[in-house]
Symmetry: C2
Amino acid sequence: MSHSPLIDELITAFKCLPGVGAKSAQRMTFNLLERNRGGALKLSQALHNAMEHINNCEQCRTFTEAQLCNLCNNPSRAESQQICIVESPQDVLAIEQTSQFKGTYFVLMGHLSPIDGIGPNEIGLDILAQRLQQDKIEEVILATNPTVEGEATAHYISQMCKKHSIRTTRIAHGVPVGGELEYIDGNTLTHAFSGRREF
Amino acid sequence: MSHSPLIDELITAFKCLPGVGAKSAQRMTFNLLERNRGGALKLSQALHNAMEHINNCEQCRTFTEAQLCNLCNNPSRAESQQICIVESPQDVLAIEQTSQFKGTYFVLMGHLSPIDGIGPNEIGLDILAQRLQQDKIEEVILATNPTVEGEATAHYISQMCKKHSIRTTRIAHGVPVGGELEYIDGNTLTHAFSGRREF
Ligand SMILES: [Zn+2]
Ligand SMILES: [Zn+2]
């Protein structure tokens, strides 16, 4: 209770942000009021623009304000005839930062989770099936997360690809580069051993 | 670089919040896009309303969308004839939560800091001087922070009060209730010793 309805509304509204509780929300509110009203108005406008205009790319489902995202719109990307399947738009950002992959993406916006009612159509696999049929694709790279749901989703998609005789690969899981063995969880170590190669 | 200008703008805009760096800004952006567009639009509106409509109370300078804040507008508050001087609106909230103080406030929105060009008028002491002259005031409670600047500001205001023969008091500083001596800083311990009372 700040004795100002507008301040109380702003403090409450800030709590919709991940990791922001009552105390941080109050600090953000007063900090902006005292020191950065211009920045706050820019944030207000940017929130409005993003929420109203950002939809999903018609081809890869990642977030974009256009019909097709920049990557799908780039003809040299399609030439590679590789599609990388990821769970979220942030995964696309992370992979793009490595500059290793030159193909296109397909973003599931989640993973299969039957108990939550999330089946193949909910993660866009109907759209992916069309691409597998229509586009010239040499390889589908499965980069879903190494979780139970991510693995199940990867498995499901690999079965879809088999019907179209498209090669599927799974990104390697193991000890992170620079990681110390003693701090790595058992699951990762199991992956690292089963995925070992000649030295 | 998210390959979407609107997403990049929102990530940049989030960095105006205290304690929010590049990684948190990205997490907030995608979290809202994926899960809470309604909450994001409410936040956008709340930011706009607060920044456009919140000004300073004409009497105590705290933030309010009205000419006078709720506390100044409450006649029973003025009856107490006590004014508590604090540095920020958050200090008002903290004191109000104790329900101990029943008077009115004066919010400096800072403290004297000559090297930063912040003199008496910048912290509203001209307005306070008017109140000391016009209103019936029995006691001014100095609740500025126990910092060098807070102490200097308290001293300056106590001199102003002296001219009007108004009693001034300073809130007590010492070991916080529940605090353990070994974790208290030296300055606080010094205050605690010099402020000791008969047991
Ligand atoms: Zn796309
Ligand atoms: Zn007021």
